[in-house]
Amino acid sequence: MHIDHHFIEALRNNDPRGIREIYQRYSDQALRWVTQRGGAAADAKDIFQEAVMALYEKALDPSFVLTCPLGALLHVLYSRKWIDRFRGKNREAGVRKENELRYTEEAFTEDTLTLAEDALAEQARQERLGKAFTELSELCRRMLTLLSNGVKPAEAAVQLELNSVDTLYRRKNACVQRWRAVYLEN
């Protein structure tokens, strides 16, 4: 476990003190990195936030333990987020920036790069799930949210004005299959 692991706990708990400390320590580095590459402070703020959110996806796994310096991991995350912005706008510039990034990333350990890739992949998967979720009916969204938050099936059936728990399960199974299908289509 790296000494910076307590920041992972801060993210898990949405602890404002710990989060402020993350910004205090690493935001300047991100700001400099982005502005040196022609970006604005607002760009730096956005990609730094996206990087922290990606890290949060890893933090949600209770077995996740930070094994590298947080600053290095955040650097890889926000720099890749920055490249993604270019890739979306200008393919040629994106490729050029990507080559530049590959060169700078040689300084980071395999562990850091693997963790960053895992975090970004997990974030992308959760975003896809979220996008598919929004395409479900209101009843499906309400039902799945109630059950996910630990509401007992019998109570959920009452709240949703369904006849029985069996009906709730049938509806839920159909909602899950619909969600899965939309997710896999995207």
Partner: protein, 245 residues
């Protein structure tokens, strides 16, 4: 994925399997990669709605905290973390309105008639920021700093009409209402912040608790103060105040 496997996973995630059958499902995830992949997706789907609320809360906190670091001039970004000073340009950070515990302790020895006055020591706000609400922000800052709380409240209401989600403005609106001896309205204004998970939660809980002092309700004040947890802003001051109640 065969229909019977889909049914099996439905039953597993609906918690309808006996323990032995649940174990069979888990064992199969170790030996059947395709089944394991489907199981993991279903687990993610089961967790997603619950976790989404946490994501939203974190995103709100990052937005609030990030503004203070990325929007501030370089020299001000170097301010130490968690000090009791407030950065003039950091509107949201300024709005945290950290009580200076040392000042409060100094006040304990004075013959102050009002516990509220002893403890309601807030930093001067710095409302000026770029944006549509700049004029109102400047007016609010000037009025508050000169003790014209009714004027500050009007300016803050104007700000909130433009930026209804401005948490710092909401916090200072609550403080103005306290200074105008309108404690119930102050609590109503602070309630959403006190119930939320933003960086200003502790401030809102603290000032809501102080509002009861204006109504001479020490029991309610103590109950509200106990919502502050160790490590949160104002926690130590709250413990001092509880001793005085």
């Amino acid at each position: 994925m065969e229909e019977k496997d889909i049914q099996l996973l439905d039953d597993y995630f609906n918690d309808l399997l006996k323990e032995a059958d649940r174990q069979v499902v888990l064992d199969r995830t170790a030996s059947d990669p395709e089944f394991a992949e489907e199981f993991e997706l279903r687990q993610q789907m089961a967790d997603w709605p619950r976790r989404e609320a946490g994501r939203q809360a974190l995103a709100e906190n990052l937005e609030s905290i990030g503004a203070a670091f990325f929007d501030a001039p370089a020299e001000e970004r170097q301010a130490p973390v968690l000090t009791a000073t407030v950065n003039r340009r950091r509107w949201l950070m300024a709005a945290a309105a950290v009580v200076l515990l040392g000042a409060a302790v100094w006040f304990f020895g004075k013959p102050e008639p009002s516990l509220y006055r002893q403890f309601a020591q807030y930093s001067p706000p710095a409302f000026t920021e770029r944006g549509a609400a700049e004029d109102a922000a400047l007016a609010a800052e000037n009025a508050f700093n000169t003790g014209r709380y009714a004027d500050a409240l009007s300016a803050l209401d104007e700000m909130l009409a433009i930026e209804p989600n401005n948490q710092g403005a909401t916090l200072y609106k609550g403080i103005c209402l306290l200074e105008l001896n309108r404690p119930a309205e102050a609590r109503a204004a602070l309630e959403p912040l006190a119930q939320g998970r933003s960086a200003l939660r502790a401030d809102a809980v603290w000032y809501s608790a102080l509002s009861y002092l204006l109504e001479d309700k020490p029991g309610a004040c103590e109950e509200a103060l106990r919502k502050l947890e160790p490590g949160e802003d104002h926690y130590e001051a709250a413990q001092e105040l509880i001793k005085k109640l």
